[in-house]
Each structure stands twice: as structure tokens, then as C-alpha cells.
């Protein structure tokens, strides 16, 4: 039983999907509860997994292994370590919450929840796949339901947004596939990620393709694939559109989990398989992080659509993660073997991606709440809502303050750690990106003032207060944000062994000689 825990986690939503398939299309209530049941059990299983996880073990745990296509060395391998476990828990939590956020979906309910569960399986699969081929399959499986969920249940521009999202990510996937195949043929024809982590650094070193280092080529191919997901500037323009057009629950999953797939992929595969490449690319990574922070912040400041503002804030927030990731090279002997900084930066980056998951999920849910009532999201179209909806105002204030990195909320700690970690190596970039701290505060507070302060707009004197179902979807996230903001140790203890292993690997690597 225990050894199949990960398989259960991944395939449970598909079971739920089969269950939904058996329910007649008009029994929408049963369909919704079936989805809630599947994701609920998944959440329980994720918690069981967490409780059985051994944080002192840096390697893969709960590994499942089965042959799949032996002639090509393709296997079904699942496993979790400190890097993926938080993402597994986050996925389970946000999918469960997402079902309740979707409760008011009234059009083609059956299809919606079926696709929703398929998406769940796809995401979960990516996080626990330890076979590169399997990883890729799940990566693609995820795209399809996403495409339909945006394209059918989205806003007015849904079809444009869906196809754009799809082509954009598919473009990345294709590059990634080439990268995967490159790895496969250079590193002993295996897709087993653990084996690749063992062998790839050595087998790749010195390999030249068309006069370029193979490491650099594969690094860039994989990186673009992941960068689109993060999204890293200049691959970011699908995000505002997709976020704005997607139904609320899907925006929540997009921002809360899908963006993390990019960071996760870079850390797991780029960092894991090509530690030498980190040395080559860290400077660019930090610089891209800076651009994300500033560009996202400025764009957010200019928005008049609340959902778009939150979408751009994601670009801004993921920038901190990139800067933190780049800090890893501080641990190398060339940089004075400053493992302190490397640990702060990398743990900060991973913590930031988790925190952005909870905080941006809250933000999107709250935007959804007001959109459901007022049927628009124009920041300038409100005003004075604080006196009409005090509870909603309070929770939004909490989410906004968490978003602008106020101490006491988890986002502050991770942002600070990213900066502190990267500072010794990238002083100029870090100092420049601290301007993001100001932009963050500016766009959130300005939006807050326009929506909630001032005299109540008469049009909205009968706007209903946030209801208990909606509260149920936000409060768990708020609690997590506050608890981890006050005492982050439980999270950091979970991830630190694995991250220290990554740091060790990178530290022992060296800059690539030649092109």
C-alpha cells in the first residue's frame, strides 16, 4: 500500500474522472461532489505522504519503478524528495480548493470537472515523475485540459487566449523534447532521471555539437521550455492573457502551480543534470530575475484590470525566485565557498515558489469573488467597498499585504532570503531589484485604495458580503501564509536536505571551458 502511495496520488483524479463519466450530465451536484471527493482523498493522501516523509533523507523516497517500454529504456518511475514534496502538497491543496472555487460553474459541468481532474493528474504526474519520458508525457497531458478549460469556460477572449497559451507552451515543449532526446543519446540512452543525475555531468562534459558545448545547447533548450512556464521575460506575454481569460479556479491553478513547474523543472533538470551549466548561466538567470521583477512591477502598476494586475504581479514575484536560484553559485570555491548564501538563496527560491502558490491563489480567488458580484474587474470602477463588504475587505487586505511582502506573511521571508542569498555574488542586480519592493507596495496599495477606500459607489450599495463557501476556499491559504510567515522552519526543514544536495552538486561543478 505504502509503496503505491505516489501512484495513487497521481491516478486518483483519473478514478474520479471515471466516476464522473458514469454520472448523468444533468446531475451536476453529484458531479461536483465526486470531484471534491477525489481531490479530497488526494489531499489526505498528500498529507499522509508528508507525515511519512523523512526530511533528513536528501534522496528520492517512496520510489516506484516498473518497466514500461523496455526497448527504449523507458520506465515508469515515481519518487519524491524535498524539492517535489511541497509542490505535491500544494497541488493537492489547490486542486481541492479549486473544486470549491468552481462550484458556481453552470455550463457543461461534467466536461469541466472531468478536464479539471485530468489536469490534476497531469500536474501531479510532472512533480513525481522520475523518468524523463514520463515527465514529458505528463507535461503534455497537462496542456490539453488546460487548453479546453480556458477555451470553453473562459472569458470573452477565451479562444484567442487558449490557443495562444497552447502554442506558446507547445513551442517550449518541442524545444524541451529535443533537449531530452539530446540527453538520451549522449548519456547512455536512459530516461531515468536519477541515473542521469549520476551520469550526465560527467558524460556531457567536453561533448561538442557544431562547435558548441552540448551542455549549453541542452541547457538552453530545456531552459526555454521551462522559462515559458515560469514565465521568464521575454516569454511572459501568454500569462496575462491566459490568467485574465481563464475561469477563476483555472487562474488559481495556473498561477499557483503551473508557474512553479518552470522553476521546479529548472532546479530538477537543468541544475540536477548540468551543474556546470549553472555556472555558465547563473548571471543571466539573476539578470532575467531582475527584469522580471522590474518589468512585472511596472506593468502591474499600469493595469486597470484587477485580474491583469494580479497576473503581472506573478511575473514580478517569480523574478525573486530566479534571483534566489542564481545564488547557488555562491557555494563554489571561486566565490569563496559561501554555502551560507547559497542555502539562503536556493531555499528562498523554493520557499518563494510555494508562497507565491498560496498567495497568488488567494488573490485570484478574491478577484473572482468581486467579479462574480460586480461582473467587472475595473479597478477604477469600484471605490468605497470597505464600508460595504468589511470581511471581504479584511481578507483582501491580508492577501494584498502578503503579496507586497509584508513581514508576518510567508512571502516576506522567501523574498528576503532570495535577496540575502544572491547579494554576495550579484550585488548590483540585487540592489537594483530591491526597487521591486517599492513597486510591489505601490501597485497593491494603489489598487487597494481605489477599490476599497473613498466614498461608496452607489451602484454597489447592495453588493453581498463574501459567503461561507468562498471563505472556505481562502481561509486555509491565509492560515498557511501567516503560519509560515511567523515560523517558516517546518517548511524549510522539509526541503533543506535535498537543497543542500543540489548546492553540493553545483558547488563541485565548474564553469564550462570554451564556447
Amino acid at each position: 500500500m505504502e509503496s503505491n502511495l505516489l501512484s495513487l496520488l497521481v491516478w486518483l483524479p483519473v478514478l474520479g474522472l471515471l466516476g464522473i463519466a458514469l454520472i448523468p450530465r444533468h446531475r451536476t451536484k453529484e458531479i461536483k461532489w465526486m470531484a471534491a471527493l477525489a481531490t479530497g482523498i488526494q489531499l489526505v493522501l498528500a498529507i499522509v505522504l508528508w507525515s511519512k516523509f523523512d526530511p533528513s533523507d536528501a534522496g528520492m523516497q517512496f520510489v516506484e519503478r516498473a518497466d514500461w517500454i523496455p526497448s527504449f529504456n523507458i520506465s515508469y518511475i515515481l519518487g519524491v524528495d524535498g524539492l517535489s514534496l511541497p509542490m505535491v502538497i500544494l497541488t493537492a491543496l489547490l486542486c481541492f480548493i479549486g473544486v470549491f472555487v468552481s462550484w458556481k460553474i453552470d455550463h457543461a459541468v461534467k466536461g469541466y470537472f472531468a478536464l479539471f481532474l485530468l489536469l490534476d493528474t497531469g500536474i501531479m504526474g510532472v512533480f513525481v515523475s522520475m523518468d524523463f519520458f514520463l515527465f514529458y508525457i505528463f507535461w503534455e497531458v497537462m496542456l490539453l485540459p488546460m487548453y479546453f478549460l480556458i477555451g470553453i469556460w473562459g472569458g470573452p477572449q477565451r479562444e484567442y487566449a487558449a490557443i495562444k497559451f497552447f502554442l506558446y507552451t507547445l513551442f517550449g515543449s518541442v524545444l524541451m523534447l529535443i533537449g531530452i532526446l539530446g540527453l538520451y543519446f549522449t548519456c547512455g540512452q536512459t530516461f531515468d532521471i536519477q541515473v542521469l543525475i549520476q551520469n550526465a555531468p560527467e558524460m556531457l562534459s567536453g561533448v561538442m555539437w557544431w562547435g558548441m558545448s552540448a551542455i549549453k545547447v541542452i541547457w538552453v533548450l530545456l531552459f526555454i521550455g521551462f522559462a515559458i512556464k515560469v514565465p521568464v521575460f521575454p516569454f511572459h506575454t501568454w500569462l496575462p492573457l491566459a490568467h485574465v481569460e481563464a475561469p477563476t479556479a483555472i487562474s488559481v491553478l495556473l498561477a499557483g502551480i503551473l508557474l512553479k513547474l518552470g522553476v521546479y523543472g529548472i532546479l530538477r533538470l537543468n541544475y540536477g543534470l548540468m551543474p556546470d551549466g549553472v555556472w555558465w548561466f547563473a548571471g543571466a538567470l539573476a539578470f532575467l530575475g531582475l527584469i522580471n521583477v522590474v518589468w512585472g512591477g511596472l506593468c502591474a502598476l499600469a493595469q486597470t484590470d484587477l485580474k491583469k494586475l494580479v497576473a503581472y504581479s506573478s511575473i514580478n514575484h517569480m523574478g525573486y525566485s530566479l534571483i534566489g536560484m542564481a545564488a547557488v553559485i555562491a557555494a563554489g570555491s571561486a566565490n569563496g565557498a559561501n554555502t551560507t548564501a547559497a542555502q539562503a538563496g536556493l531555499a528562498g527560491a523554493v520557499f518563494q515558489m510555494f508562497n507565491h502558490g498560496t498567495i497568488s491563489a488567494m488573490l485570484f480567488i478574491l478577484v473572482g469573488v468581486i467579479y462574480d458580484r460586480a461582473h467587472h474587474r475595473e479597478i477604477n470602477g469600484f471605490g468605497g467597498l470597505a464600508s460595504q463588504m468589511p470581511i471581504y475587505t479584511g481578507i483582501t487586505a491580508l492577501a494584498f499585504f502578503a503579496g507586497l511582502g509584508l513581514p508576518g506573511f510567508s512571502g516576506f521571508i522567501s523574498e528576503a532570503m532570495c535577496f540575502i542569498g544572491a547579494f554576495p555574488v550579484f550585488k548590483g542586480i540585487v540592489i537594483a531589484s530591491t526597487v521591486g519592493i517599492l513597486l510591489n507596495a505601490a501597485y497593491f496599495l494603489w489598487a487597494f485604495q481605489r477599490i476599497f477606500f473613498g466614498k461608496l459607489n452607489d451602484k454597489y450599495s447592495d453588493l453581498a458580503e463574501i459567503n461561507s463557501r468562498e471563505l472556505f476556499t481562502v481561509i486555509p491559504l491565509a492560515i498557511i501564509t501567516v503560519i509560515l510567515g511567523v515560523y517558516p522552519a517546518p517548511f524549510l526543514n522539509l526541503v533543506k536536505s535535498t537543497l543542500n544536495l543540489i548546492i553540493e552538486m553545483v558547488a563541485s561543478g565548474s564553469p564550462i571551458a570554451g564556447m
Binding site: 508525457i137 523534447l177 532526446l181 511596472l298 530591491t434 517599492l438 496599495l445 522552519a489
Partner: protein
Amino acid sequence: MDNIYINSSLAILFLPLLAFTIQIFIGKRLPRQGDWVSISAILFTLLLAGYMFISMLAQYDPNFRYESSFTWMDLGDFKIRLGFLVDNITIIMLLVVALISSCTHIFSIKYLDGDIRYSRYYAYLGLFTFSMNGIVLANNLVSMYIFWELVGVSSYLLIGHWFEKESAANAAKKAFLTNRVGDIGFFIGIMTVFTAVGSFAFTDIFEGVALGSIEGATLTFAGICLFAGAMGKSSQFPLHIWLPDAMEGPTPVSALMHAATMVAAGVYLSVRLFPLMTPDALTFIAYIGGFTAFFAATIALTQNDIKKVLAYSTVSQLGYMILAVGTGVYTAAFFHLLTHAMFKANLFYGSGSVIHSMHHALHKKHDHDTDPQDMRNMGGFKEKMPITFWSMTISTLAIAGVPFFSGFLSKDAILGGTLSFAQNHPQHFLLPIFGFGAAAMTAFYMFRMIFMTFYGPSKMPEIYDDIHESPREMTGPLVLLGTLSIFVFYTLPYFNPFSTHGWFTDLIVAKDSFVPGNISAHEIAEHAHHAHMPAMILSLSVAGIGILLAGLMYLKKILSADTWAKNSGPLYKLSLNKFYFDENYDRFLYQPLMKFADKVAYFDWELYDKYFINGFGKVTSWLSNISGKFDYEGIDQGLVDGVGRSAKNVGHSLRNIQTGRIQNYILYVLAGAILMIIIQAV
């Protein structure tokens, strides 16, 4: 004994947080909207702080110090330990916060009677007190920064208490953002120090400084960056713009936060970090403080809004304290922080009492257009509000630096320090000019305020009859803090009104800087001692001139204020308009930033995405059309059936991408991948 300090500190820290939590969740449903919850919590912290204070006096040990830390996070090499530092400075500061906070809690009962968000208000007061105590107790930069920002957010919430008013909402936002500018510097300073020393704890940092782990230009840079945080919070030039606007908040809040405690946090930080400041950093600090003291005083000269006068006076007084840190007499800075907290909070309560009374009188006449804060509508309140008048007058004497009052002692210590600094460094002659100049102006504008408000004929006789003294909840704090503006409370067990010597100077003794080569505390004290006499004579004369001038202009009307204003030409206008700082910041910083943001967003969305990214799509689509055509017309029609048919199929599948049948494409990609594997494997 030590444990009692820690337990009391814990209780002092968390009781207000408890009150905040209760108020936020159930405050509104409690009888009297739960104000008694907050008030009892704060009074209990006052009791504990008083107890700690008395133990401190009983111990009478200038070197008393207790520290306790715990590990907050530990990643192996990267560790953060948080903790408390309790020494005499902490204890005095805790008492100040508890005392002023208690006064504000009690004063607000009547001042905010019937307010729509009465329980919210008390909740935020609790949040503020919690955060402020956190700053006071911190023994490391991380918790300092955490509570620093939390103080900022409670200030935001309280300034914006009446958020229906646009000006209040704007002021709240402005306060938070301006503070964040300083905080960025603060944070960069923290990173610089941590990178060099590897710890956030004050003790470790000072040790690192002493050992030379961080030195020279880096240390100066770190010091100035850390000080930037203080500039934001203590409203120093050029970040001073938020404090006057913060007066949009309820007046008791202005007394607590924007006069006595929160804005003093910057001074407190500077005092705590003094031992790591290099001479260059200190010079920078001295000029910022000195200039702020002078510059803010010039603005206060012409303001007509009673709270604005007090606000600029606060900025100026904070400048004094910063000046004292910069010139090395940091214990004098802390001394002035203490005395200023009492008399300035009192002045704000007094103004609150006046405004409250004006407000009710105007309300009775259904006059909603007259500004109840404008001193040009007041006059002659002395008979109507005797307690307010006397208490404010005592505090005014204190702030003006008149002997027998507390401000005289602390101001004198600062001016003495500044004078001796300039004696030893003649190139910095401007600093004492700033100091004494500001002292003269302070005496003038404070008495101008007293005369305009309380003396002469009433300028609005129609409401004069309805002006009356405030209720006991408001006069109580006035009497208490007015009394505490008298010198004797600061010189006990001695009674010499001209010497600062007393429990304070015995218990708060300057320590040597940790920066190698810095001048020793002993030498600084020695120099300041020699400058004491000339400084006192000078400060007494400038204060006398200021008071005399105010009396001639506003009491006796022998000199016409209007003529003076006219004769001073553009200077008067500059002062009245606060040197146009807000306008220029708006024009040269805020508006350009917003325009730039709009441009970036436009570029991102309308140009980059629309043309560049979508251009890719267009080009691809165009190419596949061509290839489709080529397939169909060139190959299919030209070649024989078998080849033609397969090419046609390819063309179809390519076109399918364009029509959005994504399923096919996925399949296509996967098939392609598998095909490649097969080809390679064979």
C-alpha cells in the same frame, strides 16, 4: 531575576497582540465594542513596564543587560536567531511606549466616541503597540526589520482610519510608500552587514566591526544604508513628506505614533547602531539631522493648521535627535527622545482637545465648512479650556527649551554636543548654526501657536460660547503628561534644573564605538562638558528671542505678522507651501514613474505581444499555407497518386494546426518523438 525580565517582556510584547486579535474577530460584538479589552491589556503592560522600570532603578546598574535568543530557522550554514535584548535603554523605551499608548487608549474613549469603526481603531492601536514593542526588544536586525514594517502597516491602517476621505487614504498610502523607500536602504544595509559578518545579531555585528570583518567604505555604506531606514521612519529630509500628511489620522494616533513613539523608532535604531557608524557615516547623519531640524522649523513658522505646526515641529525635533547621534552624543539623543515623547504627545493631546471642542461647537452651529484645525478660527480659549491651556503651555515651555522644564535639559545636551563637535571640527560650523537656529524658530512658532489659540479675542465669536473644556478621559492624560514635562522627573535624585545629572545620566552611559580608531565616548563627553556653558547661554538667548518675537507679533501685536510676511518676500511663500516638496515629488518622481509604467505596459501588451509574439504566429501560419499550397498544387497535382496522397495528408495535418485541432498536434509531436527514437535505435 533575569527570567522575570524575559517573562515581563514577553507579556508586554504579546498582550497588545492578543487585544488586537480579540478586537478584530469579536470586538464589534462585545459590550462598548470591546474598548475595555484593549484598555485593560495596555494598562497591564504599563504595569509590567513600570515594574521593570522600578527594578531598573533599584538595581541602578548602567551595565545591566540581558539577552535571550532562539533559533528561528536553520538551513545548516544559514541560520537566523531571533531574540530579546533588555537593557536600560529597552526598559525606558518600553515604559514610554506603554505610557503614551495607555494615554492614547484612554484619550480615545471620548475622542472617538461614536466612531463607525471604534473597535477597529482599538484593534489597530493594539497592533501598533505590539509592533513598536517588537522594535524596542529586538536584539538583531531581522526582528528589527520585521517589526519595523509592521509598525509601518499599523501606521497605514490608522492614518487611513477615516478612509472615506480621499486625503486620508492618500496620506496612508504616502506614508507607507515613503517609509518603504527608506526601508529599501535599511534592507540593503542588512544584507551588506550580513554578507560581511554572517550574523544578524547586534552583538555579533559589533564584534565583527571591532575585528575588522567589515570596515572602511563598506562599513560606511552599510551604516548609511541602515540609517536610511531611520530617515524614513523618523521623517528626515528628504523623506520627511509623509509625516505632515499623516495628521489625517485621528489626533490621539498622531500623539502616539507620529510624535512620541513610532517616529522615534528611527532615532532608537540610530542609537542602537551608533557603535558601528564610521566617522563618515556619522557626518552624513549629522548633516541630515541638522538640516532637517532647521528646515522643518522654517516651515512650521508659517503654518496655520494647529496639527501641521506640531507635525513640522516633530520633524524638526527628530532632526535634533538625529543630529545628536551624528555628533556623537547619542545618549543625549535618547534623552531628548524620552522628554520629547512626553511633551510632544501632550501637545498633540492638547491640540486634540482643542479640535474636539471646535468640532462640537461648529457642529452645533451646523457649520461643516469651517476648518476646526485652523488657528485663524480660534483665539481666547484660555478661559474656556484652562486645563488644556496650562498643560499645553507647560509642554511648550519644555519644547522651547526654557529652564525648569524637561526639554531644556535634553536640548541643552544636544546643543552642547553639537557645539563641541564644531569646535573640534571647525569645517562643520554649519551644524551648530542649524541647531541654534532651529531652537530660536522652535521657541517662536510654539508660542505663536499658544498665542493664536488661547490668547486674544476669539476670531469666531459665534461659536465661542460653545467652546468648553474636554471630558476627564481627555484632560487626564493632559495633566499627567504636562506634569511629566517638568525637569525634576529626569534629574532625580537631584534637583538642579540646569544640570542633566540624574538617574538618566547615571543609567544611560555612552559606550565606545566599535569602529576601530573612532573617538572614545569619554573624549566626547569631555568635549561636550566644556561646551556646556556657552551652549546653555546661547540656547537660552535664542529661545528668549524667539519667545519675545512671538509675543510682540501675536500677543501684543506691536509687530505686524503680515508686514513681516510681506517683507520676507518669496521666503514666506516657500515656507507656507512647504518648499513645494510635494508638488515637485509629484511632478518629477511620481508622475514620470506612472507614465513610464504606462509606457512599459503599453509596449508589453500592444507592441511586443501583439506584433512580435503574434508575428511569430503569423509567419508560421503563412509558411504553412505556402507549404500547404506547394503540397497541393505543386506536388499533389504534379506527381503520381501514391506520393501525392501522402503529401496531401501532410499538408492537411499542417493545416490542422491552424484550425486549432490540438489533439492531432500532440499526437503528431509524440509520434515524431517515437519515430526519432526508433530511427536512432536501429
